[in-house]
């Protein structure tokens, strides 16, 4: 579904991605872990062209991602994204946020979209918050609206960039619950996360990034429970203090 072939990216002289090869299959949940600065967010943002890359290729269903080509708009409608800081549209209600993409970009019928959008918001537990503006919602609620906004596009895959990092601890659970549900329904998801426990639970595969390279990849069990790579072991030791 999403394939990375020898991706290189640098900012000026600083090379942040040094040859990434990996694949995310349809219906899989893949977690990207690694220290900050390891390039995991950058890699994720390359998939829908929010960042470009210098060489190699990213393919979404065999279609090459080129941040500067017209085709990028089409790829973005098929691969949704959820951000660390939610990025809801502040001048629209929760419901309007969810409807915006399907109505304005996919040009679908407004009434049908409304029904579907309400369904998505109910699903993430926000039936009573549909007409609230983002500023009136908690962080956890905003992030759930953002997930509903992604789902409303009926994407083939969802990219999630540290979806719980900006949340107060007591709100992390409600967002992870929604993501767990999606994983059970085999939504293809590529998740940058620091929640090792969550990754262990829902991820089919885990990629461990270390200074621009995938130092280790495999099933969640392999990478998180029996890591072979020294760097992975060290990283997991360090983050385990936080749990």
């Amino acid at each position: 579904m999403i394939r990375f072939e020898n991706i290189h990216k640098s900012y000026g002289h600083h090379e942040v991605l040094k040859g990434i090869d990996a694949e995310v299959e349809k219906g899989q949940v893949v977690c990207l872990i690694g220290a900050s600065g390891s390039g995991k967010s950058t890699l994720l943002r390359c998939v829908n062209g929010l960042e470009d890359y210098q060489s190699g290729g990213i393919f979404v269903d065999e279609q090459k991602v080129d941040a500067h080509a017209r085709s990028i708009h089409d790829i973005r409608t098929r691969v949704a994204m959820v951000f660390q800081r939610f990025n809801l549209f502040p001048h629209m209600t929760a419901l309007e946020n969810v409807m915006e993409g399907p109505v304005q970009v996919l040009r679908e019928n407004k009434d049908e979209v409304r029904v579907r959008a309400e369904e998505h918001l109910r699903r993430v537990g926000l039936a009573d918050k549909m007409d609230f503006y983002p500023s009136a919602l908690s962080g956890g609620q905003q992030q759930r609206v953002a997930i509903a906004r992604a789902l409303a596009m009926r994407p083939e895959a969802i990219l999630l960039d540290e979806p719980t990092s900006a949340l107060d601890p007591e709100m992390v659970g409600e967002v992870l619950t929604v993501l767990r549900d999606l994983a059970e329904e085999h939504m293809t998801m590529l998740i940058v996360t620091h929640e090792i426990q969550f990754a262990r639970e829902v991820a089919n595969n885990v990629f461990f990034l270390d200074s621009g390279r995938i130092a280790e990849q495999g099933t969640a069990e392999e990478v998180l429970t029996r890591p072979q790579n020294e760097r992975t072991q060290e990283f997991l030791r360090r983050v385990s203090h936080l749990m």
Partner: protein
């Protein structure tokens, strides 16, 4: 001299025609300045240097010339180029051009102050640039720009007195003529100042209301 109340009654009709013209010049110039200002702001925030550069030069150029000179230029020099304008038209265009720069910079500030995450969110649902500006960025930029835009409005209204130099008989001009024919400077100019305040004070109050209302809905 006749009693004050009689003099006020005598002067008022003349000053009111001036006031009316001040309002007309200001409103039309504001309309022009807002439309052009929006255009400059869109061009200046564009990634295309063939749009960005010209807008930047136009704005810098116009801002570097005093309003009076711009007005003289439009009213006295343009006819030599075959463009005949009435003083009223020249006043509106001159004032509108100058203020389009200030308002353009105000809008540009607003657009640049919109969180980068909004651009990314709009892009990530597949929006193209034009729709993103219209649906996501500008509505937020307008809110941010509203307080300085209000200031620009009040300043424009006051600066509309400058068009008197090209013989537009607006409030200041009427006052000056009235004062020089009656020598009653004190009464006339007090009335002129009061009439300007009758416009600017309500304008300030309205702006404050609108800001509050918009602030609440986000």
């Amino acid at each position: 001299m006749s009693p004050l109340s009689e003099r006020i009654q005598e002067y008022l009709p003349l000053l009111l025609t001036g006031l009316w013209r001040t309002v007309a010049v200001s409103l039309l110039a504001l309309f022009l300045a807002t439309a052009l200002g929006l255009l400059w702001a869109m061009m200046r925030t564009s990634r295309n240097i063939w749009l960005e550069r010209p807008a930047r030069y136009i704005v810098e150029f116009l801002r570097g010339i005093p309003i009076l000179v711009v007005l003289f230029y439009i009213y006295f020099v343009m006819p030599d180029m075959g463009i005949d304008l009435t003083a009223f038209q020249a006043g509106i265009i001159g004032l509108g051009l100058i203020y389009s720069c200030y308002i353009g910079e105000t809008f540009r500030g607003g657009i640049e102050a919109v969180d980068r995450g909004q651009v990314e969110a709009a892009k990530s649902i597949g929006m193209r640039h034009g729709k993103m500006m219209r649906r996501i960025i500008l509505p937020q930029a307008v809110r941010i720009s509203l307080p300085p835009y209000g200031n620009n409005m009040v300043m424009l209204l006051k600066d509309s007195s400058q068009v008197s130099v090209i013989s537009v008989a607006e409030l200041t001009m009427q006052g000056k003529m009235l004062a020089s024919s009656t020598f009653d400077n004190m009464t006339v100019f007090t009335m002129v100042a009061a009439l300007y305040l009758c416009l600017t004070i309500p304008l300030n109050i309205v702006m404050r209301r609108v800001e509050l209302k918009m602030g609440r809905s986000r």
